[in-house]
Amino acid sequence: MADSFNFELVSPEKLLLSASVTEVVIPGMEGEMTVMAHHAPTMTTIKPGVVTVVMADGRSERYVVFGGFADIVPDGCTLLAESAVAVADIDRDDLARRLQDAREDFNDATTDSGKQKAQQYLDQLTTLNGAILPA
């Protein structure tokens, strides 16, 4: 069995999860990454997506996060999410509202870089929406 390490999922409002886990899949800005024990120290921003956590006892849990960043050290991993909810508790209205906001941001953006950023965020949200809708 793989070594376990300490994983914490924190949102500004509360500490969602602090547990001993063997594996965490993080939607990093430059692609999904699986973090296991003894990972090289890494810091990455994350995009809206699903975090899959495999607990030390084999259970797995999934959380939806909307942006944030992860701080990974060999013996632990901290994920600071701007907002995070368990997949089971996801509020579809909230998601729809975020999509709507992102669309408006995109339309309102005046500069090229702003437009690009908004487009990127919108795409990520759309992907997220598509990925968890069937679930």
């Binding site: 949102s11 500004p12 500490l15 430059e30 090289a40 810091m43 921003t45 701080d71 901290t78 600071l80």
Partner: protein
């Protein structure tokens, strides 16, 4: 000398007031517990955020390519003060304490020849500062309708601040709020938001760890700084809510006690007067009988 009926009415009205203050005290106590829990729940995030910030700030250094939110504009002329107060009164000196603290700060800045702009969060602070510095207040944010402070509120404030900064509206931003020490003690605090000051916490840890950054340290920092500002504002708002409830609780406790004392005094003079009247009537009867 008030009549017996007047005294009776006054006692009844003080009793009614006491009931209200008692109820307010209990409501404040219940809300305080919730506010304290919220403040505690938010603590891990801001702590970790501070650790990560100091970490990454060391990695990037304060070179020319560091984000402007961190280095500032290089000037120190225009100050923005974000003054966070409560929405409601009846909480002792809570609001005026923050306002007084902010006012001292404003006076000092004005004496140094700086330009001051004020962003009021909360109605009470606006009401107080409006008297002296109405022309300096550029905006106010009201959370009167908000039942429970959440991150969304902090975000709206932070976004206003950052939009203003990007438009070159100010050079230095300071946040005023009341730090919640205990139920009876709230300390007005000023905290500099922009340029960001990176704490030196966790120095040994950051020195030992050589991080990989994805995408790059600068990009992360750029993403991180606005977030950090939001978190600091959020924390200030939560501390304020807890402080307000604490102050309200002790203020209402005092009011209840005062009302109790007043009732005692009034009933004393009521009883004395009634006794005097009885005695007077008796004297009249007796002397009338003796005259026969």
């Amino acid at each position: 000398m008030p009549s017996l009926k007047d005294l009776k009415n006054r006692i009844a009205s003080v009793k009614a007031t006491q009931k209200i203050t008692k109820a307010m005290q209990m409501v404040a106590a219940a809300k305080l517990r919730r506010a304290q829990e919220a403040a505690e729940a938010a603590r891990p995030y801001s702590q970790r955020m501070a650790a990560v910030m100091s970490n990454i700030a060391q990695a990037v250094g304060s070179g020319d390519d560091a984000p402007r939110l961190m280095t500032g504009t290089g000037k120190d002329d225009v100050h923005l003060l974000v003054v966070c107060t409560a929405e409601r009164g009846l909480c002792g000196g809570f609001n005026s304490q923050i306002a007084r603290f902010a006012r001292e700060h404003i006076r000092r800045l004005l004496a140094d020849g700086k330009t001051v702009k004020i962003l009021c969060v909360g109605k009470k602070g606006f009401d107080i500062l409006r008297r002296d510095y109405a022309s300096l207040i550029i905006e106010r944010v009201d959370f009167r309708e908000v039942k429970r402070m959440s991150f969304v509120q902090a975000e709206t404030v932070a976004e206003k601040v950052m939009t203003l900064f990007e438009a070159g509206g100010f050079d230095v931003c300071t946040l005023f709020y009341s730090e919640f020490k205990s139920v009876i003690s709230q300390v007005p605090t000023a905290q500099q938001l922009i340029p960001a000051t990176a704490g030196s916490a966790d120095a040994d840890r950051s020195a030992s760890a050589v991080y990989d950054y994805e995408p790059g340290a600068e990009e992360i920092l750029e993403d991180l700084l606005p977030r950090s500002i939001k978190v600091q504002i959020f924390r200030a708002l939560l501390e304020n809510v807890a402080g307000e409830m604490g102050a309200k609780m002790s203020a209402m406790d005092n009011a209840t006690r005062n009302a109790g004392e007043m009732i005692d005094k009034l009933s004393m003079s009521y009883n004395r007067q009634r006794q005097a009247q009885i005695t007077k009537e008796l004297i009249e009867i007796i002397s009338g009988a003796e005259a026969l």
